[in-house]
Amino acid sequence: MTAATPIEVHESGDAALRVVATSPDRERNWAAVHALATWLETADVDGVHGAVPTYDSVLVEFDPYVTSARQIRAFVLLGMRQLDYVGTPARTPRQFDVPVVYGGEYGPDLQKVADHEGLSVAAIIALHTAKSYVIRCLGAPAGSPMMDGPDFPLPVPRLKDPRLSVPAGAVSVAGRQAVIAPASAPGGWCVIGQTPLTVLNPDKQPLVPYMPGDLLRFHEIPAAEFQHFAGLELEASA
């Protein structure tokens, strides 16, 4: 048994609560909120619609006719105690390899990011492809794999004027985060490249192939190879 991960529970309207893990250890916070989300799903409590875990927090959504913020708060505290007792279940992560065409029409903000970081375009690509990223959570839009970003010297600012449409497969960075857009959607992050792989398949269950905790690595391909991958779906390589 480990010491309890400290949490704060914040009201977020009459149909949701935000639970934030507040230990100094980011990895532990992340593991705790994902374990809590899984526990809530497994417990299948009446009136709980589901949980949205991200980095250090989980949003618990519920039906205020069936239950209440007060009851869910008590339930969350119970879950945390139980998880601290049994530990966080481990799952072997899968690896996803993602080919990316950087720059040009595929990554219109690549030069801007390089200028902001005071690095060459080649150095930005090298840093972006240098390591495997842990998929921290599924985010907007449409189950995007949200990852801790590459080891750039500075956080990347969001675009002043968000684009009305960013294509599916866009590979973007903002702040200290990195992401792939599974579907075309508006976006305010800097787009540095695009993968030709299909990420989201609405006819499949689940819609996206990865889960939080899985590993993802980018590798550069020349623009001429983009078409070779067209129509192929993103799949785990290991």
């Binding site: 309207g13 949701a16 991200t54 959504e61």
Partner: protein
């Protein structure tokens, strides 16, 4: 026996339900009927379970033809409803004969109308919901000539006395106003806005034409975040009030992306989200501070009213021999098959 109806003028309409409640876990917005009270009421008045697929018609005129005898109910924003050219009441069950056209026009005060058909409409589902998702590209596309399946037909209910309404079910219809008051609870990040948070409650906000099912954009005096630190992406509730730019306040509605990196100043209550669903561009909104306990109580009172309505409808339908609960439950697939 199942029936069909044919869309004659789609306007801006979709087949939806109460939402994809399992979606947010997988990064998909909940979506579904923006005015949940009106959608539930329409289904109840049509003798359906609350969550059955129904039509949501936004802003524009709409027409459909019944290809078989149907029983429908139309709720939401006030407008002129005609069936076979006869003007008919909203918020009541209405009999439609095969061949008759159902026309909705003149939606001038609210923004969204719900049309439920007894026995519900057939629609494909994703994660258990037929609600369209514009990002994923899921949902039935309605256009002139689209044929929708209704799972049941209902022989015409004869009105024995002229000029008397068929039903008096006693539901309080939600009012629509061009200057609604919207209840808000404190958001988890309200402290980040310091004293400027109070501006939210001292300002009139105007609904922008760029508002949609994802969120309402409101112009007016804006509270300002007091720090500039990067915020980690977090799950944001439907109803979250954010200040993403210097131009507008953003109130997220059911189409909202499930995660965002903006601090949440306040959260609109479930009841008031229904009111916002009816706010038209140009309408003026004021916010009023409330508590989660108060908001929960108001939501529950509204739901109890719908429960009472369901009881009355079931009684009336039972007496008329239409869609008593036993007969519509038969349509649900037996468990394990």
């Amino acid at each position: 026996m199942s029936g069909t109806l044919t869309i004659q003028q789609a306007g801006h309409s979709v087949v939806t339900d109460l939402g994809r409640f399992k979606g947010p876990r997988y990064g998909l917005p909940v979506n579904g009927a923006l005015d949940q009270f009106s959608a539930r009421a329409a289904n109840i008045l049509a003798g359906n379970p609350d969550n059955d697929p129904l039509l949501e018609v936004t802003a524009l005129d709409f027409r459909m033809r019944a290809d078989s005898d149907l029983l429908i109910a139309v709720t939401g924003a006030p407008l002129t409803l005609t069936v076979g050219g006869r003007e008919c009441p909203q918020w009541e069950p209405v009999s439609v004969l095969a061949g008759e056209t159902v026309a909705l026009h003149g939606m001038n005060t609210g923004l969204r109308v719900y049309v439920a058909v007894h026995g519900a409409l057939d629609a494909p589902t994703l994660l258990g919901s037929c609600a369209p998702d514009t990002v994923v590209g899921f949902g039935l596309k309605l256009a002139e000539g689209t044929v929708l399946g209704a799972r049941k037909t209902v022989p015409p209910i004869r009105q024995p006395y002229f000029d008397l309404p068929l039903f008096r079910l006693g539901l309080t219809r939600p009012g629509t106003s061009a200057s609604p008051v919207i209840d808000v609870t404190d958001g988890p990040d309200i402290a980040e806005f310091g004293d400027t948070a109070d501006l939210l409650f001292n300002t009139s906000y105007t609904v922008s034409g760029r508002s949609n099912h994802i969120g309402l954009r409101l112009g007016g005096a804006l509270p300002e975040r007091q720090s500039a630190a990067e915020v980690l992406s977090r799950g944001v509730p439907v109803g979250a009030i954010e200040v993403p730019s210097r131009d507008e306040l953003l109130v997220l509605h059911r189409g909202r992306g499930v995660t965002a990196g903006y601090p949440v100043l306040g959260v609109v209550t479930s009841r008031s989200l229904d009111v916002l669903a009816q706010a038209r561009p140009g309408h003026t909104i004021r916010f009023r501070k409330t508590t989660v306990a108060e908001a929960t109580a108001r939501h529950r009172a509204a739901m109890r009213e719908l429960e009472a309505l369901r009881t009355s409808v079931n009684t009336v339908f039972g007496l008329l021999g239409v869609g008593a609960p036993a007969s519509w439950r038969e349509l649900m697939p037996a468990s394990g098959t």
